[in-house]
Symmetry: C3
Subunit: 262 residues, 3 copies
């Protein structure tokens, strides 16, 4: 059984390894795959995007554990979501905002049942003390309803885009390693704009008119937009860093407008 | 059999992968888990802390390989320690300072037996040429005494704290990804102070009076102390970075004093 | 079957995890080992060096996937190389420049056969859509010739050194985590210089006369050269950072000259 880990724990500490040790003690056969531990500290939106961008690339049955958890030790709920093919475990702070909308059916449980937690739960590290052991027990086959009572997951505002006539307004949700700025606007959203009008993307005071298939299709240094590998609108600079060169970051508003082509 | 790796090799090179390739060539079934490869370069104290913080989260039988090794290729000894549940392999430079005191029994061997090394040992990369193959042979079941002669591991000064009347003096041993400064003062040390006096923590010219259960329990920006998930006294700033904001770093002296509550 | 991954995708995104999810969906038993995902962005030379430094540390049968791919989505070819013990998969941009010269025999194929790709191939992420699934199918045992037609891999200029009388000219190909500057000059190249003359290494305006066995063998701060663990000439500063202190970087020319010892 595959268990993936996505956190903002960084890579210089032993936090992610602690989760792995606990999982392997309960479920020795678990296959552990890191999605990333470099989500910007406490950036739930970026974590939500990364999870949504990759979860469906894994085989059915995979358990995805996502711990970006600034509210650890306070009253925030811990949840699990079950979809036809996957399980998701993490704090109920919006990190799973994009899951329910994308899946045809799902069920969500509050992680109330302390039987599957570590015997002693610290107030600062629920990744190791709650999410890791619960994931390992799920991997061993305990029934999903035994985790706790049914609940409804928190859906964050930044997971939605606004539609106006000939216009979509969204925002940058993640800046990747290459400096490409990825938005919450999907290919599906884009397809609701008129087909034959010219698309203009405005962000951070810039107006980008080049919409291409791939990074290499323009001259170096040109600002472009494209539908990236995650199926979302990206702003990029060919052979450059769009975030630093255009001054756009997570949270920057992005407007796609479509001029009528009469 | 699980083999963990902890090094200061960084992540941009192929050094850690080289160790893994060698291990898998000898013991194809080994489960390889990275603790961290971002120990600050040559910082034995930080490596020792990270190892101590996580080793017991792994199942019994786990082999922990820790290579922070500024003296590689000089005369420093290579050692292995066996405790009731774990094995430890690394240079004898103090990286295992915290292990013997925590375990009820242990045995230590010098890695003299070149039979378990790679045939050709480089003078700069004992991680790949000595520690990796020895770990893999241990995972395959060779008897511990066959590694070499009995020896006594080096215990570093920074692994100890000083007790004075109503006062404990220790130091920062690690700054984590969130900027939290972790000390060598444990919950057990703290319990030797009078119970009902108010605790004051002094470090880097600051005097911290807020001792809380969890990061989220004060207003953002407040300097706090807490017992972290590793069971040690930590200095943190809620939603902030204690190390940069308070000017404390590994090696900074930390004094916990307890005012009499007459 | 072991599959290694070497990319410039960084560690803060989900790109490498996407490749792993796809591989595990096709070949659930694959052992996945990261070589590095921190190759400097688009630096084919550095990726080529890292691959060459470590590939032979893995057991026979290992499949090495190397994706440093600035030309993704343009016309560049995707290739596979088979040697007596290993497979290599990646873009045909020179990243395998050092493989053919080191192996006694090899065969190279263009990845034409879309049967082994993902059904829908994005124009920006061939790591996930072509290289990962092809690697997984190879791990499951499909015959190498079924990947596509025979081709000849691109060999880059920087993979070669120049020989002059009593002199070798090469360049820095990689700066490692410790700041050591590794060159394309091998121990074998060095052995073609006269044995008993004094070797002088010139790089970045510096003239280095200390050639040692290991980093610890000189006083701290001294610039030294040594044959590193990868069998190549390295420029280092004992307990320091050669790259920043000497002003040398990938691409810096390096000349080894040998004074006659008449």
């Amino acid at each position: 059984m595959i268990i993936t880990l996505l956190t903002d724990f960084g890579l210089q500490d032993s936090y992610a390894a602690g989760m792995k040790g606990i999982i392997l003690g309960i479920c020795p056969d678990a296959r552990l795959i890191d999605i990333s531990h470099l989500v910007p500290a406490r950036d739930i939106r970026s974590g939500a995007f990364l999870l949504e961008s990759v979860y469906a690339d894994f085989p059915p049955g995979t358990i995805h554990v996502a711990v970006v958890d600034p509210g650890v030790g306070t009253g925030r709920r811990a949840i699990a979501i079950k979809t036809p093919h996957y399980y998701f475990l993490g704090p109920d702070n919006g990190i799973f905002s994009w899951i329910p909308a994308r899946e045809c059916s799902w069920e969500s449980r509050s992680l109330d049942n302390s039987k599957y937690w570590r015997p002693r739960v610290s107030s600062t590290f629920h990744g190791r003390d709650i999410f890791a052991p619960v994931a390992a027990h799920l991997a061993r086959g305990i029934p999903f309803p035994s985790l706790g009572s049914i609940c409804s997951p928190h859906i964050a505002e930044w997971s939605r885009v606004l539609f106006r006539e000939f216009e979509i307004e969204g925002e940058v949700v993640h800046v990747d390693h290459f400096g490409n700025a990825i938005t919450n606007i999907t290919m599906d959203h884009m397809s609701r704009l008129p087909r034959n009008g010219q698309k203009i993307v405005r962000a951070g005071g810039h107006c980008i008119r080049h919409h291409v298939e791939s990074y290499g299709h323009t001259s170096p240094g040109t600002a472009i937009t494209l539908i990236g590998s995650s199926g979302r609108l990206e702003i990029a600079v060919n052979m450059g860093n769009a975030s630093t060169e255009l001054g756009i970051a997570p949270g920057t508003r992005v407007i796609v407008s479509c001029s009528s082509s009469s």
